[in-house]
Point group: C2
Chain length 173, copies 2
DNA sequence: GATATAGTAAAACGATCGTTTTACTATGTG
DNA sequence: CACATAGTAAAACGATCGTTTTACTATATC
């Protein structure tokens, strides 16, 4: 396997399961089976590594969310959480953990949010003709991810059902 | 003012605005205008201080959310966010930032979540007769808080409207 | 008036952490 | 063969941070 991808994948797992600050460079090098010298030569520093992990995470996440409707998106979000575990949004957690002041991280979070917003906007528009329900779908999506971390994946199915009701209501008027 | 309350209030502000890890003990003592010796004599250590802040926050928060209906609760959440600012749920952020492994913090988060769940359950039951919509209201609440941190307080009003629609739908069946 | 109490100011400690450096090894290429 | 490249292992550095300690001051109480 490519050594850079191995570092990033191992770091993604460690960040997700143990947190960003709690994942020290020694743990990250051990998890990826590389020396610290190699990690720094390849990734520069920890901030850059975090940004690279978030970029990689974003690609993986939106690749899994390729549905053609809001309903499918929620179903795929449920599948993702079943297989990956529901520990809350990694991007939100990156902001809380690493801090808003780290520009590389903040930039990646912004990109993620824009892409999520774009995805939902596109789907809502294609289903209802207008974009009135976009913000509500975004709230349901964020809420599903947050609630699933302590209420279980069932919260995502609840959000899915609620989304269907709201979209139906929205298109009836 | 009581010195302990002064420490806790100043710490709550610093934790909320700068993060838990980023708020070093020197910043916390400076913000409260106390010596570190006094802070440690009163609060024990940083973990205990974080727990005390979260307990204080929980009391403040649920005092502000004393409405008699789901609709009022969302309106009061909007008011809270207008005056306090919307930087995401402080309890969620405490878990991400300080880490799940700090028992004092994890315990406070659990208490908060139980109280929120209890509040919503009570209100939904009194409005619809059953508790079918509880989980959906919880998802909307969590989503409103999360989305408001980058979409603005308007997200909370969207959640409020969505809650009304869903509750109406739920009681019609 | 002696004394316990509760506070300040500031130095010091010990540990952790991100990062760099040194010394060394393996590999493939001109 | 010589040599640049890319890696490991491990020590060292410098800074930060939570916590403790020392020395000192003000206050109220018996």
């Amino acid at each position: 396997m490519d050594i850079e991808q191995r570092i990033i994948s191992a770091a993604e797992f460690s960040f997700d399961h143990n947190g960003f600050t709690a994942s020290g460079m020694d743990k990250l090098t051990a998890a990826a089976n590389v020396s610290s010298r190699t990690l720094y030569k390849r990734l520069g520093n920890k901030n850059n590594l975090m940004a690279a992990v978030l970029a990689h995470r974003r690609q993986r996440f939106f690749s899994a969310l390729d549905g053609a409707s809001i309903d499918e998106i929620f179903a795929q979000l449920a599948s993702w959480s079943e297989s990956e575990g529901a520990r809350g949004c990694l991007f939100l957690r990156a902001l809380s953990d690493a801090g808003t002041s780290i520009d590389e991280v903040a930039a990646e979070v912004t990109v993620y949010r824009k892409e999520l917003h774009l995805l939902i906007t596109r789907l809502v528009r294609s289903e209802t003709g207008d974009g009135n329900a976009v913000e509500a779908m975004l709230v349901l999506f964020e809420g599903a991810v947050a609630a699933a971390s302590y209420r279980g994946v069932g919260a995502i199915h609840v959000a899915r059902t609620a989304a269907a009701v709201l979209l139906n209501e929205s298109s009836e008027r």
